[in-house]
């Protein structure tokens, strides 16, 4: 519903606006500035125009990193969203099991990112890691420092372990808000378990799923810490994602101009994909918004 217009409210949010300006807008503008310049250290800058962008968009290194990112995010979404829904569906709705499940689910989310990386780095080691050692003892050739496939599996499984809980918690919140009458009606209508999921649970989870997909996409697309800790982008460049590449370029090689151009493109890609997801998933929910507005007086 509409609120009273109160111009004082703008003063109230001013501190936050300033904070955002200093922490986000100004650095962003600096990056934009860098991306059009070339520097040779000593604070000397030369106008480079769109050169960096052209170079970047034609660089194979960038293409590969971008492709790796897209595949990674695709895999993450394809695994975590269905898995999260399944786990949420299996969780109890009442009784002592509820708090236990919720705490268990929240645990991975409480672990700092670099710790998650370290845990898996150790866990997967062939010499002392429980996972790596066991797998090799079973005759499976697993070594994430040498085999690109093993590295990918490790990074993906690690992310699934770390973040599926978030999807579960969001879906669970969506599920418990469905009124009991819907399930009763479905039983009376003779709906199968699948039909209940397809026509009641999924539509009612629509909004939380949108949030889950957006969050997981953005986070996985920006992934840095965990693969950096575990594989350092290797073996070779096989797990070098855009973020890792960016840091290599900016800090390792001190190529500020290309790195800045890359950050901008990176940022625009995330924005573009988020927008696409958002529009696709909210496309037919306009009528819902109208209906809920209409219902607000009831």
């Amino acid at each position: 519903m509409d609120k009273t217009l109160n111009n004082k409210a703008w003063f109230m949010v001013l501190p936050v606006l300033l904070l955002v300006a200093f922490s986000a807008v100004i650095p962003l503008m600096t990056v934009v500035n860098y991306s059009f310049q070339d520097s040779f250290g000593n604070n000397q800058f030369f106008w480079a125009g769109l050169d960096w962008f052209q170079e970047l968009l034609h660089s194979e290194r960038f293409h590969n990193a971008l492709a790796r990112n897209l595949v990674f995010s695709g895999l993450i979404l394809a695994i975590e969203i269905p898995l999260g829904i399944c786990v949420a569906l299996c969780m109890p709705r009442k009784g002592i099991g509820v708090p236990i499940c919720l705490v268990l689910m929240a645990l991975p989310l409480l672990v700092p990112w670099n710790v998650v990386g370290t845990i898996w780095q150790v866990f997967g080691r062939v010499d002392i890691g429980l996972l790596g050692y066991t797998l090799n003892a079973l005759g499976i050739n697993y070594n994430y420092t040498q085999d690109w496939l093993a590295a990918w599996i490790t990074v993906v499984v690690m992310d699934v372990w770390h973040w599926t809980s978030l999807v579960v918690l969001l879906c669970y919140a969506g599920l418990v808000s469905i009124p009991e009458a819907y399930y009763q009606a479905a039983r009376i209508d003779g709906a199968s378990r699948w039909a209940v999921f397809r026509y009641i649970q999924l539509p009612k989870m629509h909004r939380v799923l949108l949030i889950a997909v957006l969050l997981r996409f953005m986070d996985s697309f920006m992934i840095y810490t965990e693969p950096f800790v575990v594989t350092g982008g290797g073996p070779g460049n096989s797990t070098t994602f855009l973020s890792i590449d960016l840091v290599k370029m900016a800090i390792g090689q001190f190529d500020l101009g290309p790195a800045a151009a890359m950050s901008l493109v990176y940022f625009l890609i995330i924005l573009l994909f988020s927008w696409i997801f958002y529009t696709l998933m909210t496309r037919d929910s306009d009528s819902t918004a109208n209906a809920s507005k209409g219902g607000s007086e009831a």
Partner: protein, 358 residues
């Protein structure tokens, strides 16, 4: 359609019920005849929804049996009982069209698509939503959604019964009139066995042929609207049916005479309760005549509510509250008295009605 028998059903939400208090539903032994329209009427917490859920199979009774056409269905699932239910808040499948919503129960049961089409179109016509057949259900108004909920029940022509759980709660007053008369019309045309749960006496009385009045987990009276109005079997029924409810006046019995304070009322043919019991006289406000002081029993008028069609006079008779309903055009005398229509008096002993002498 089926005849529904509730055989000595009791239900408790506690695992080991001991006393009567522990039962949300005390013993109910009741038959709903095939093709009848019944209402379960009572305040919240009286057990009416519990009873409905037992019939639909959403709840299994602690004790007793439930029979559809003589067959015990106590252990049947909701699906197998083949009933339809309309809930308080309209339940529609948001992502489906109106047509698909109505076809859903048939498709779930593997009915061939051409038959689904025929039946669904029939129902669309019946609930007057043909023009909305292709629209998504979620954009519709509450009354249209409720019609869809009803339609999903009607589309299965073989249902044993249609159950209603306060279905008009979210409907605007004007729309209630339309939906109510459509329901009655449907019942008349197709003779479904219908059970309608509500706390609203108008809805219950206008809908049902027989109303089951419930109070604290017990059935206190089953009767036609007329019987419930004229001869409430229990003072609770007198109070609950009618607006305002029946006047219940404590009285002392002396042979055929009832004494209320210093007034004596001759009762003829109302029967003689044992002297030890608490006796009360019941008279509907509609049957209390307001007159000028001089004739009848003087009352102290406390308030007059003019509600347009009639006036409600609230007064005190010897300190006991007494309401009277007087016609729109009758003036209220300065000092008033009341007379009771003795034909309409009921006598209660320990809250239960004393049977009239033949």
């Amino acid at each position: 359609m089926a005849r529904i028998e509730l055989s000595h059903i009791r239900h408790s939400y506690k695992p080991n019920p001991k006393s009567d208090e522990d039962y949300a539903l005390k013993e109910v032994h009741q038959t709903f005849e095939d093709g009848g329209a019944y209402a379960l009427l009572g305040p919240s917490g009286c057990g009416k929804t519990t009873l409905l859920n037992i019939i639909s199979g959403l709840l299994k009774p602690s004790e007793g049996d439930l029979l559809f056409d003589g067959t015990s269905v106590k252990d049947y699932s909701t699906q197998d009982r083949n009933i339809a239910q309309v809930f308080q808040f309209p339940v529609v499948y948001d992502t489906m069209t109106v047509y698909d919503n109505l076809a859903f129960p048939l498709r779930n049961r593997g009915v061939p698509e051409d038959e689904v089409g025929r039946k669904t179109r029939d129902i669309l016509e019946l609930i007057a939503l043909e023009h909305k057949a292709g629209s998504k259900a979620k954009g519709l108004g509450a009354d249209e959604k409720q019609k869809i909920s009803l339609g999903r029940g009607l589309v299965r022509s073989d249902v044993n019964a249609i159950l209603f759980d306060e279905p008009l709660t979210v409907i605007d007053p004007h729309m209630k009139w339309v939906l109510r008369s459509q329901l009655k019309e449907l019942h008349r045309q197709f003779a479904y066995t219908m059970v309608y749960v509500t706390h609203d006496q108008t809805e219950a009385l206008t809908f049902a042929d027989k109303v089951v009045v419930m109070h604290e987990g017990q059935v206190v009276q089953v009767g036609t609207p007329d019987e419930l109005f004229q001869n409430p079997e229990h003072t609770f029924v007198g109070y609950f049916i009618g607006s305002p409810g029946m006047n219940i006046l404590k009285c002392a019995m002396n042979g055929n005479q009832a004494r209320i304070g210093e007034h004596t009322i001759e009762l003829s043919g109302l029967g003689n309760p044992p002297a030890s019991q608490n006796t009360e006289l019941g008279i509907r406000p509609e049957f209390v005549r307001l007159t000028e002081a001089g004739s009848g029993m003087p009352i102290q008028i406390q308030a007059v509510e003019d509600v347009g069609r009639y006036k409600i006079v609230r007064g005190l008779l010897d300190g006991l509250p007494l309401n009277a309903v007087v016609p729109e055009d009758q003036s209220i005398p300065e000092s008033a008295a009341v007379e009771f229509d003795t034909q309409r008096l009921n006598l209660y002993a320990d809250s239960w009605r004393v049977a009239r002498e033949a």
